[in-house]
Symmetry: C2
């Protein structure tokens, strides 16, 4: 059997950890990109390969033999809009550049609802939506096969395994981080998800039925 390696950027984050778990339930092999040795050990204890990499500095070595990338990194609200530029926008752009360089076969981006129409955001969130928008647009033009997933507001609740996924969803229903992680991992496999962008919120469609038509 071929080993399909999926680099998870932002693996130590709330969604990132769930993505790693979901990948472990597939035939694929997760590679968790983390910033600290503690985080690396945490993953290794769970039998997950982890590599050190910092979006603000260097992370090129993390791409060795990687087939696919899921980008789930994000700065926190506490670190301010400076880091929104440096991590959410420029980190994603650098990750895309590396994916081009290393010939990655699929790049799945964790984006945000309304990142495709940042002008619609209210003032407190508009700069964030613009940053995500620039990163998404850069990926779309990069030539790397991509899927962009724009979830509604994230909750910590247990995943329901059912969502509503569409190119555009009206309204801002929420969705659990677990279901988002599930959708991101599902998007890795399906040819129908390639070079497409989707909004996703909680709903009625089983995640396993997504991207079939």
């Amino acid at each position: 059997m071929f080993l399909i390696k999926v680099l998870v950027i932002g693996a130590a984050g709330k969604v990132g950890r769930l993505i790693v778990e979901k990948i472990q339930q597939t035939d694929y092999t997760p590679v968790a990109m983390v910033r600290s040795k503690d985080q690396k050990e945490m993953f290794e204890k769970k039998g997950v390969t982890a590599v050190m990499g910092d979006l603000e500095k260097d992370f090129e070595s993390a791409y060795a033999d990687v087939d696919a990338v899921i980008f789930a990194a994000g700065s926190s609200k506490e670190t301010g809009a400076e880091m929104t530029i440096i991590i959410d926008q420029e980190g994603a752009i650098k990750a895309t550049d590396r994916a081009v360089h290393f010939g990655v076969q699929r790049f799945v981006m964790l984006s945000s609802m309304a990142a495709d129409r940042p002008e619609a955001g209210d003032h407190s969130i508009k700069h964030y939506l613009f940053a995500k928008h620039r990163a998404d647009e850069y990926l779309k033009k990069s030539g790397v096969p991509y899927t962009i997933i724009r979830p509604g507001p994230l909750t910590n609740g247990e995943g329901k395994g059912r969502v509503f996924l569409s190119e555009h969803v009206n309204g801002g229903e929420s969705i659990s981080r677990e279901d988002v992680a599930d959708v991101l991992v599902k998007a890795l496999k399906h040819p129908k998800a390639e070079n497409k962008s989707f909004d996703v919120v909680e709903g009625d469609t089983p995640v396993e039925d997504l991207f079939r038509h």
Copy 2:
């Protein structure tokens, strides 16, 4: 004689006011884009046509019959990195989109030294350099004939009329806002400045001799 209209975006700013004055000394006609009625009246008292426009909202009407654009808008340090994204990056990108739409013949961008290599910036300025970099890159790919000017640290001193302009200047010498305004206006005219980017600091070359070869 043909009327050549130059829209100055950010006309009420420190460099913007000087740009308007410099254009008045040429055969061209400045159109000052401003956000407030007070600013509009200030320019009109000086015999300068002024139009209302807000980079964060709408400014499309400002482009009527405009032949060239000088973009000299910038958020202030006080308004934070959110506004760096919304004005310095996205405002410039929107201004570029409008220039494409209206078939503007020249777009002169006031950028910043090191905006072509933001990674080199220290942490306090890196997010700003990234934002300027994205705006510059967007302009370069837009198809609008452009000149990008990246001055060193700006001073309020009187212009010397002499600068050092080159594709890359090593070192961070300063330059007066007046000399920068002079260079931006000079770049409007010269075919040799088209689709090029330059660093500029104070130096020995008379501004009138720039872009000759």
